[in-house]
């Protein structure tokens, strides 16, 4: 593979770090040359946090250029829309966890919060379909990232980066105490084609 760009986004505190850790290590396990970069600092305080992952022999720098992401993985709806608009290539893939963290502009009545249809329309405008992910009864909202990961794994978008690799990496990076809970969420998200609204 010459070049594949993956853009991860969410809100500070949602656990984008774990998602990016599993993704980059899985790509490495699959034998790819990898380059990545996470957000640190100011934005972690409730702002948009992003993480870049680029894989392939043609990659020499860590930041995904605008409009060139093959895949966008988002942990919240408006961030999914933002990532799609700013980063996604026409025909690329966007997955987002369907939860809402209203930005201050929504709470103060300045902006409207986008509906699922708004996201879908923006996706259709660039020739793709957005994939919402949601699991009811998550033991901890901090596992939404793992639900997105499981759904991503089920799509088999990156050659050689099989779900067995992703699952193994996930197992090795989460604390031993919560391995089982995380695997359960991963498998639930993985095993359904339409996980929107699926119960664990």
């Amino acid at each position: 593979m010459d070049k594949m760009n993956i853009y991860l986004c969410g809100v500070g505190g949602q656990g984008i770090g774990l998602l990016s850790e599993v993704m980059i290590r899985s790509a490495m396990e699959a034998g790819y040359k990898v380059f990545g970069a996470d957000t640190h600092g100011l934005a972690q305080r409730g702002g948009t946090v992003v993480s870049h992952l680029r894989i392939g022999d043609g990659v020499f720098t860590p930041i995904v250029p605008e409009g060139q992401a093959d895949i966008v993985l988002a942990l919240e709806r408006i961030e999914g829309l933002r990532g799609l608009l700013k980063m996604l290539k026409p025909g690329g893939t966007v997955l987002y966890y369907d939860t809402a963290q209203q930005p201050i502009a929504v709470r103060t009545g300045v902006d409207a919060y986008p509906t699922g249809d708004d996201v879908q329309k923006a996706a259709e405008a660039i020739g793709t379909k957005a994939v919402p992910v949601r699991l009811e009864d998550l033991p901890d909202p901090r596992m939404q990232n793992v639900a997105v990961l499981g759904r991503f794994a089920s799509l088999g978008l990156i050659e050689g980066m099989d779900s067995s690799i992703i699952e193994k990496v996930l197992q090795s990076v989460v604390p031993p105490k919560v391995v089982d809970a995380n695997l359960k969420v991963f498998q639930a998200a993985y095993s359904s084609n339409d996980v929107a609204g699926k119960r664990l």
Partner: protein, 626 residues
């Protein structure tokens, strides 16, 4: 998976996925750094976190958080002239704070060796500017290394440390945000955990003088300039200054084309060469000051046209053009054409555009990405339960309409944003009390209020506080006390009690002779608002300490102890939709439904209760949830 802490001190060779900041730490250990110091600041705090991940009894160096960057640099210098290889690291603007001492270093015979690591921030990802610290190397005669990747961070730090030790001179090691935070697989060498030799080696007679003053400056400056010439010679053959020709080296349309670059933009150029398959050459400078004259001139003479691509200021451009003029080199030299390209990071897309503006026949013009619709950015905000929010809410309620508020650096800088709009002017760490003092002069009509965080109070805040006591300016300082250095990841400070005994800010203020001091829990709206009114009624300098522990830190610690707070806030039926909690207090845990009702997002609420007293109809109550 092997833990980073174990890998960092592994004696054998290893290779693994690391961040640039982690690669730097392994390089420190391998090269024998014995003293490392810092004041926390993005993009470098993970360097300290990686060092501290190694248990103290296995840590091969002494590490310290110091009061500010200047003190940290001086501690590292003192250790280095006493014979220990030392390293100080801090954020880009940290070099401004440290500069008074930093500019002296090249005139010193630093027998142990010393590397000054800075995290520059092109793109101002987390800084108040994007200053180009390459100018500091020129101003102080300090050689500069510029790694472009985590792998280069490792190899070039080893080289810089060795050169510094050998030539007894300081090296400025310039990383940038996305070199610090980039992750890739890096191959490391062996590490010999030899016991340190702590014999004091300072000897001003044998190795000095270390005393630049008046005419004594000149022999020391001469030494600095001579050493700089030796580094220039060293750079002619160093493998850190390297020419890449990934697609061969052929004339294109009859012309030999080359690019000179450094740091991350050089890698972006390589990426573009890879994509275009065109046979251009890239001269990538790893030692960017002093430039290797002969090697640069050879490159110019070997090409008909050369394009210089660098981030931020035209530093290399000006030096290379003047070299070419002096040498009469017949090479056309191009540079960035757009003012916008003097700002921000130059990734592969912007670099391609610069190449295409210079050589449109070689690099075809590309349409920039068009965004079908733009969304308002998600402004960073204070966390649920943050004491600063409660403080800003209460201070705002107490202030007259025409008051002037002066901000400072820290999590509480976020008070600038709506709906609080507290803090209208910002320069740098510790500026607030100097600026507020000036605002108060001759001002009989508008109240002046300044803010400062507790870590910044000790870092750079004290001189202006002392000044305020002496002149008894008529303004009110609000100390935003949360017991930690929160924004950069909860590092200790002088008042936190994690290093030595805590130095309480209240005692410091009392000792200094501040006449009005009130310390209140920021959650207690009544007490806070009363204290603010009293403080502003006091003629002269007054201080309110709005205190509450950082709740992000507290919640994490509780969770680790298995004591997560299960209680959540609930909006009761008597809510009259005044939206005070949603729009004025504005904790992110509140959300508005389509029907206009207010709910609590339980994913975010930490059950702190700081919102309770802000509801005019008492509709906010706790309920236990499982």
């Amino acid at each position: 998976m092997e833990r980073l802490a174990d890998l960092l001190i592994k004696p054998e060779k290893w290779s693994g996925l690391v961040m640039g900041n982690d690669a730097l730490v392994r390089a420190m250990f391998e090269s024998g750094v014995k003293v490392a110091t810092t004041y926390p600041g993005s993009p470098t705090p993970e360097i300290a976190a990686a060092i501290l991940s190694v248990p103290e009894d296995q840590r091969p160096l002494v590490f310290q958080y110091n009061t500010n960057e200047k003190v940290a640099l001086e501690v590292a210098f003192g250790a280095a002239v006493n014979g220990r290889l030392s390293c100080v690291f801090f954020k880009s603007v940290g070099l401004n704070v440290a500069s008074d001492s930093a500019v002296q270093l090249p005139m010193m015979n630093i027998i142990g060796g010393m590397v000054v690591v800075i995290g520059d921030d092109p793109g101002a990802n987390s800084s108040q500017n994007e200053q180009d610290n390459r100018h500091f190397s020129r101003m102080s005669y300090m050689p500069m290394f510029e790694p472009a990747t985590p792998a280069e961070t490792y190899s070039m730090f080893l080289e810089a440390a060795e050169l510094s030790r050998k030539m007894k001179m300081p090296i400025l090691f310039r990383m940038t945000t996305h070199v610090c935070h980039a992750r890739q697989k890096v191959d490391f060498g062996t590490f010999d955990p030899a016991p340190p030799d702590w014999t004091p080696k300072f000897d001003s007679k044998a190795n000095g003088p270390y005393f630049p003053i008046a005419a004594d400056v000149f022999p020391l400056k001469t030494m600095a300039l001579e050493r700089l010439d030796r580094v220039r010679e060293y750079g002619e053959t160093s493998t850190s200054n390297v020419i890449y020709s990934p697609n061969g080296s052929e004339p294109i349309n009859g012309k030999r084309l080359g690019v000179v670059s450094a740091s991350m933009p050089a890698m972006a150029v390589l990426e573009n060469f890879h994509e275009s398959k065109k046979p251009l050459d890239l001269f990538k400078l790893g030692i960017s000051y002093p430039l290797p004259n002969d090697k640069v001139l050879d490159f110019l003479r070997g090409h008909d046209e050369v394009l210089i691509i660098e981030e931020l200021d035209p530093v290399m451009e000006n030096e290379i053009k003047s070299m070419a003029w002096d040498a009469g080199a017949h090479c056309k030299i191009f540079s960035r054409k757009q003012r916008a390209d003097f700002m921000g990071e130059l990734g592969p897309d912007r670099t391609w555009r610069i190449l295409s503006e210079t050589w449109p026949d070689v690099f075809a013009e590309r349409k920039p990405h068009e965004v079908q619709k733009s969304l308002n950015p998600r402004i960073p905000q204070m966390c649920p339960g943050c004491g600063h929010r409660a403080a800003f809410y209460g201070v705002k309620k107490s202030l007259p309409e025409n008051a002037i508020t002066v901000a400072d650096i820290g999590c509480h800088s976020l008070g600038y944003y709506s709906p609080y709009n507290m803090g209208e002017v910002l320069l740098c760490m510790g500026h607030s009390n100097g600026t507020a003092a000036g605002m108060s002069i001759g001002n009989e009509t508008r109240k002046v209020v300044s803010f400062i965080g507790d870590s910044t109070f000790f870092h750079a805040g004290l001189p202006a506080v002392i000044n305020a006591v002496l002149y008894d300016y008529d303004f009110t300082l609000v100390v935003m006390e949360n017991g930690t250095t929160a924004m950069t990841g909860h590092q200790p400070h002088a008042g936190s009690g994690e290093i030595g005994d805590a130095i309480p800010i209240q005692s410091v203020l009392e000792t200094l002779g501040v006449k009005f001091i009130k310390r209140v829990d920021a959650y207690n709206q009544k007490a806070l608002q009363e204290a603010m009114k009293e403080a502003m009624d006091h003629k002269g300098f007054s201080v309110v300490i709005a205190s509450h522990p950082c709740m992000l830190k507290f919640t994490r610690e509780q969770r680790r102890k298995g004591k997560a707070n299960k209680r959540k806030m609930h909006v009761q039926d008597n809510c009259n939709r005044s939206y005070e909690c949603l729009r004025e207090f504005a904790c992110p845990s509140f959300a508005v439904q389509d029907d206009g009702s207010v709910v609590v997002n339980e994913e975010l609420c930490i059950g702190d209760g700081s919102c309770m007293s802000t509801c005019p109809v008492n509709a906010l109550k706790f309920s236990e949830t499982e």
